[in-house]
Symmetry: C2
Subunit: 220 residues, 2 copies
Amino acid sequence: MPGRKAPESVRRDQILLAAYRVAARDRLGGLTIRAVATEAGVSAGLLLFHFESKDGLLIDLLDWMLSHTIVAGEFHQRAPAGMPPIAWLLSIVERDLAHLLKQQERVELFYDYWVLGTRHPVIRRLIRRALHRYRDAFRPAAHAIIASHPERYANLTADDLAGVCAAFIEGCATQTILDPSRFNAERAMVTLQALIMPPDAPSLIQTSSVAHVASHVTYP
Amino acid sequence: MPGRKAPESVRRDQILLAAYRVAARDRLGGLTIRAVATEAGVSAGLLLFHFESKDGLLIDLLDWMLSHTIVAGEFHQRAPAGMPPIAWLLSIVERDLAHLLKQQERVELFYDYWVLGTRHPVIRRLIRRALHRYRDAFRPAAHAIIASHPERYANLTADDLAGVCAAFIEGCATQTILDPSRFNAERAMVTLQALIMPPDAPSLIQTSSVAHVASHVTYP
DNA sequence: ATTGACATTGAACGTGCGTTCAACGAGTTT
DNA sequence: AAACTCGTTGAACGCACGTTCAATGTCAAT
């Protein structure tokens, strides 16, 4: 029955939320206009009245997802007091990794978009920007590391270091999604730490859970 | 005009090759039965005569891709004479990374399959096995590292170490595909080396090209 | 030659999709 | 109360896809 009006912004949010629910359940392959419309309790025609095309819906949904988490929250410009820079960086990596594992379904969706982006310029741009922001989250800590051992890291830039951290996390995400039973985030963190920490440094990782992050560990 | 016969295996190979050409050009999204049939110069009906369904074609194509490269070739059980274990591991990482960059189109396809695998059990199994083989390529070197510094890497297994290497490469692949202009494999290698090598170790990376691998560097 | 097995085709079927659109009705304006 | 705006619907269109199938030709066996 036509006529029941709702303000534009309310309808859009209602449809976007329905789109997210459908995508979280059936992935992008199952995200059809009709499915979203049904989930939102409106007609397919109305959906295309508010989002001019499916492409528009996809892009707006990705925008919405990228602004509602995916990338871990606030990132700090300075290390917690007394924490060495390398430990700081590791704690950020660990926090992000834990964050990733907690929203696996969202990460899977993100990868769907990522594959879509290989063909779709607008989506590609959005994802690229998101990954750049991701990398940026590591830069302050990376910069601090380089500044703290200028002789050792003489030929590195903060961007290089941040990029390697981002690559590590993205690779962990790949393994988690494909083979969750075999990938162990805690082991990955312990290994990473053993690789890059000076041999005599104290351990940062609490072996009980990845979620208990190194930022809570105090330093002598 | 019906009748022109060809032996089963020849036709299958001809169609598989056509499928690969289509997929390399248009990705999995553009891989339709009709497109492959046209590329192979046969009818769509014939394609389904030889591959019982599109699913079968997809799986056989993935099988074919996984056996024709993707994963870098022979992996050695022992380090080149005189090369320290860490340098050996780095040289393998570097070789794989270079290999990856040279077949970007194939890697993109692989990621298409990877996303498909999130929904498709058979494909998931194939990809999982391929990634496990990938990880295995690092295990001998990882084992050598742990054996060479047992005190430092006391609580690590070769599998942990191999997994982190695999994650690093997979993350690099992610960045390369999404943002090739910004990702610099050489910088990534230099950074990785600076992170995990003891400060006074000699450089392994030839700055001119990632392809000139560290395995050619001789050690004092 | 005749037969039979089978590779091959082209047309067709059914389905699900994105999209369009005429009709309709609730609010608002005049 | 008449006119107008615009959110809303449901049916329909057209297309591309995976798949089926009767018809047809080739080849080998008899």
